[in-house]
């Protein structure tokens, strides 16, 4: 059983290079889908999505800088959704970093970023949180890992890796790789 001895059964499914490649590919896809980065705001969902949003923002900036078109800084921020969750009071909540949105998001295209997409409940809470700051033109969702088991009608637009899992497994993701235990 995975739960009995997590250390022995931990399995690395992506290494640091795989993560870097996935981030590069997702960055290209975000630029392609939005025909550039004009009006695009990258927002990481605290905690897990913040580092990924920073990496995506840096990668997008790097790619755009090598192109012919005039560059603009890529706006990156973070949102903490813990005050919008649907399980408040049912289990411990530890808010992440204080929400920090880069300017006005009215009319912007928001790319919400999280490391692992699972039930979709965090994304639902983050959508509510974002809409309290303004009315984006569109919201897209980028995740490093989609592990399935959705409980809400939420679908990612950009996926680093689709990872079939069972509900009793645990998936952790960082710049150093993705581990199932």
């Amino acid at each position: 059983m995975a739960a009995d001895n997590p250390a022995a059964s931990a399995k690395q499914v992506l290494g640091p290079d795989d993560v870097r490649r996935a981030v590069t590919r997702m960055a290209h896809e975000i630029i392609e889908r939005n025909r550039g980065v004009h009006g695009v705001v990258i927002i990481g969902i605290a905690h897990g999505g913040v580092w990924l949003a920073d990496s995506l923002g840096a990668e997008i900036e790097r790619i755009v800088a090598t192109g012919d078109e005039p560059t603009a800084p890529v706006l990156v921020g973070s949102v903490d959704a813990s005050l919008y969750r649907d399980d408040i009071g049912l289990r411990p909540v530890t808010p992440g970093a204080v929400s920090d949105l880069p300017g006005d998001i009215d009319g912007a295209t928001v790319v919400l970023v999280d490391d692992v997409l699972y039930t979709g409940r965090t994304v639902r809470a983050a959508l509510d949180a974002v809409s309290d700051y303004g009315r984006p033109r569109a919201v897209q969702l980028a995740v490093l890992v989609d592990r399935g088991h959705r409980e809400l009608p939420i679908r990612p637009d950009f996926v680093g890796k689709n990872l079939p899992t069972s509900a009793d497994e645990r998936v952790t993701a960082s710049a150093d790789g993705v581990v199932i235990s």
Binding site: H47, L83, R91, V93, T94, V116, Y118, D132
Partner: protein, 332 residues
Amino acid sequence: MTPRRATSRSLLTIDDLGADGIVRILDLADHMAEVNRRPNPKVPALRGKTVCSVFFEDSTRTRLSFETAAKRLSADTMTFAVSQSSLNKGESLRDTIETIAAMGVDAFVVRHRSSGAPQLIDQWTQASVINAGDGWHAHPTQALLDAFTVRSALGRTGGLDGLRMAMVGDVKHSRVARSTIAAMRLLGVHVTVVAPRTLLPPDAGDSFADVVTDRLDEVIGDVDVLYLLRMQQERMNEALVPSLREYTSRFGLTAARAAALPSQALIMHPGPMNRGVEIAVDPGELPGSVITQQVTNGIAVRMAVLFDLLGSGRAAPDVDTGLDIITEGGSQ
């Protein structure tokens, strides 16, 4: 995750929280302060919860601050006005509380002139009880907002190690002094109490403050925080100080003392202020004054306390605290 104390369904004194608990509330208050800076300062966190303020003693700022905090978290609020209540028909405090609790209240915010009243109420109800000031005993949310104000003004995270605070005035009759001194010392602040002997509690020793003195001028040049307490007029009648003029000349913030303060020192006051007594200069002209911020921060801190007690899952039964689900991106 720290183990739950028996009393952590409620907040009765600063000691209920301990240093870790204080930092937890202050971190949460950073989030609430961000909510309060938005154009629409409201989140759905405590939808469906009901918070009832029960004030047996006059208060404007604390009651309004709590009610604003509850509303910004989308909780419903009720106010129990003692003057219009059945207490005037002879109903006991216990029956009153049990009657309100039967209407489905999740938290009582209690102020009472008798020390210990919130503790009694806590024993009579399953709801959370938040002490909003009892007698000379405790005022924990004031202490938390004071600590939050110092932390925010100095841009610190975590505790307040190494800071020096002077608390000046009527410490004996002040629940604010007791709670704020306790909280500051738990956070690592070196606290000097400055007061005439008649306004010190009989037990004022090492356990109470780091230093106790009656000479403000000797400490004022070496403080990071100058905390002035309200000088209550009634104390004159009890002959605890000879006159207000005398008090001001020895313990008040005069223009000369304001000049002697270090330039970066913060000036605090729990309100309501007696202008010309404990503070003889216009606080608006003091660059270090954070008295207005104290009031503003009170809302964020009380939101943090309400959320910590009612919404964080800390008080929920059968919570597997080993599974810190929300912080792990991998499980959600």
